[in-house]
């Protein structure tokens, strides 16, 4: 390899660089994506200021995430914070049942009613007199934890499979995609049930089960995007500059594929949380008395016959809020990141 000074005989003297820190900091993908958003907003904003015609107003609306997105993000964020800090919050013990003579009086209380000792139960109590607020938060902890973890791990594994098979193609692709097809052929819930049946109940095993369910979908999606981007000339250009396969995959393809995958992630989390809810409803998630949203619904179900709809109603509302929020976030992100190639 020739020494640098020889090859640069023709270039003028390097000039000192002003803002180098901005570029150097960009090593992780999340930061980069965030900056792209900022840049888009900045460019569009300045264009609008210059022109102010209705068409760019539409473009601007598209470039803003909007109120609904932030409300949905807020719901998930608040719930996630509550779930994370559940242990240090002043919550009643979610598994403690009232004992003694007054126990029956404290069962299935509606929201905002008081226990015999005068303490307030914000979301009422369940059929065993346990605090619903506290149980919903601990149940969300399981649902969100399992959902996020399953999709995160599924994205790492499925993404790696999808990137490599979409880039290398040929025999490797055939084999991995055949494997993914086998996994996809099982009904998702059945597959998850089988895995839990083999490995036993518990949040870790639920996560493993839902990860296995998530991998093939993500791998397929990533593979399709990788194949499309692999055909683009910048990949060839990178090869002609001597980039290795690993470099092409991680530096050229990954940032592009990640942007395409990003809107799908909240939707995948929603699916995983719904699946965890289904597992819990069937009694296959966490071991009672530990709270889970699906378990609370199935336990509260008999209360419907006695007109005490709030008992299953509380976990149902929370689960619905989570699922709808995640879907709204995903939809909005998809619109946000759908950029015409011509604009690039």
């Amino acid at each position: 390899m020739p020494p640098p000074d020889e090859t640069f005989s023709g270039a003028p003297e390097p000039s000192p660089l002003g803002d180098r820190d901005a570029l150097m900091g960009v090593n992780n993908l999340a930061a980069e994506v965030g900056m792209i958003e900022d840049d888009h907003a900045r460019i569009i904003g300045s264009e609008l200021a210059a022109e102010g015609d209705p068409e760019s107003a539409v473009a601007l609306a598209k470039r803003r995430l909007g109120v609904v997105f932030w409300i949905a993000t807020g719901i998930i964020g608040v719930l996630a914070l509550l779930a994370v800090f559940a242990d240090v919050l002043p919550l009643a013990n979610p598994n403690e049942q009232p004992r003694g003579a007054n126990a029956r009086l404290e069962q299935s209380l509606p929201p905002f009613s008081y226990r015999v000792d005068g303490s307030l139960t914000v979301l009422g109590t369940d059929s065993l007199g346990r605090d619903q607020l506290s149980r919903v938060i601990y149940g969300s902890r399981v649902a969100l934890g399992v959902g996020f973890a399953a999709v995160l791990i599924g994205t790492l594994i499925g993404g790696a499979i999808g990137l490599t098979s979409g880039y290398f193609r040929r025999g490797y692709d055939t084999v991995t995609m055949a494997g993914m097809d086998v996994l996809l052929a099982f009904p998702a819930l059945l597959l998850a049930l089988v895995i839990v049946a083999i490995r036993g109940k518990g949040p870790v095993n639920s996560t493993i089960a839902l990860t296995v369910v998530a991998i093939p979908t993500i791998a397929r999606l990533v593979r399709a995007n990788t194949m499309a981007f692999s055909q683009r000339e910048f990949v060839l250009a990178s090869r002609t500059l001597g980039a290795s396969h690993l470099r092409v995959i991680t530096k050229e393809l990954l940032p592009n594929v990640f942007l395409a995958l990003l809107p799908f992630i909240p939707l995948a989390i929603a699916v995983a949380i719904a699946a965890e809810g289904a597992l819990a409803y069937l009694g296959q998630s966490v071991e009672p008395p530990q709270a889970s949203l699906g378990g609370m619904i199935s336990q509260g179900q008999p209360q419907l016959e006695q007109g005490k709809w709030w008992v299953p109603g509380v976990p149902i509302v929370v689960l619905l809020a989570v699922l709808i929020s995640l879907n709204l976030i995903g939809d909005r992100l998809r619109e946000f990141f759908t950029i015409k190639d011509s604009a690039l």
Binding site: M1, P2, P4, E6, T7, F8, S9, G10, A11, P12, E13, P14, S15, P16, L17, G18, D19, R20, A22, L23, M24, V26, E32, I36, D39, I43, R170, R232, E233, F234, L236, A237, S238, R239, T240, L241, G242, A243, S244, R247, K251, E252, P255, N256, L259, A343, L344
Partner: protein, 382 residues
Amino acid sequence: MRRRQAKVLRTPDRDPSAPLLEVTDLRTSFRTPRGIVRAVDGVSFTLERGRTVGIVGESGSGKTVLSRSIMGLLPRATTLRSGSVRYEGVEVLELDAEAMRPLWGAEMAMVFQDPMTSLNPVVRIGRQITEGLQLHLGMSKDEAEQTGVALLGSVGIPEPAQRMREYPHQLSGGMRQRVTIAIALACGPKLLMADEPTTALDVTVQAQILDLLAEQQTERYMAMVLVTHDLGVVAGRTDEIIVMYGGRIVEQAPTAKLFGNVKMPYTEALLGSIPRIDDPSHTRLAAIAGRPPDLINPPAGCNFAPRCPYVQERCLVEEPPLVEDSPGHVYRCWYPVGSEENLRIRSARDLPAPPTAEAPRGVPADPNVEVDPHAWHETGDL
């Protein structure tokens, strides 16, 4: 992998006195369900250090496949190749991608047609340009940054330090092509392959980019293969021109000689299809009738015969060899433009006199007269 890199770079066969690039009887074919496509069929040429060769032909003439074969960029599984490509005396045709990697970027680089697609849309320009510097030249991040800024400045990009932090979509097409050129030049390659570098650009920007390439080439004493469908592009900027048709060389000559003395009817037709600025308005564009040959079942005889205005019995059955007209000028035709037979055919078919009789279209008849590239440029793209 490291061992292979070392093998290529330190090989004793590497001969600094050999021509930089020596292509001998290169054949590249693709296996397809319909049969074998002979995309490049027996091409030979030599490129010395610091020189420029222009490869001209219409779509499907094999010029892009030729440049990619030389670079070793075609998929091995579906490509058949034979012949020889020697880079500084080292045979590179049979090297696999891993063995070629140390050459790519550092020794030979490529500028692509469309700067919209040859830059990664979600990676900052700074990282795209510094990557090769760090990889090939082992520069530190700071050094690479400074060199990157200098490179952007040298290809005529204003405020280079600012541009380093921007994304490709924030630049215009011409600026983006300047960036791709800067990236290709970054590691100081000795050979630059420019595959239709101006086709996707505005006419006004084309000349600037070509000037930039020429300027950088002289400054760096770099050899260049300029692939284009536009004779106007290569006219003033190459030392030698290769005209390709149906995967074969049909005419090859030093640039000055070629325009004064076109032999191949195909070259003549290409020149004739360039509209002239001094034509009266509403002059019909001269097009070459017909289509390029089917490369799976090429016609017997001359490839160009079905579209040639001077076609004879012999052209349809017997393939013409490459004939030397004067040293360095070869062509592939039985009845070359300017020959007595050709003149006879012309008068019999009521075709206009050959351009060499007076001045060829747009080009001075005297081969020693400097061709004004800009004049070609304007006429070539309107």
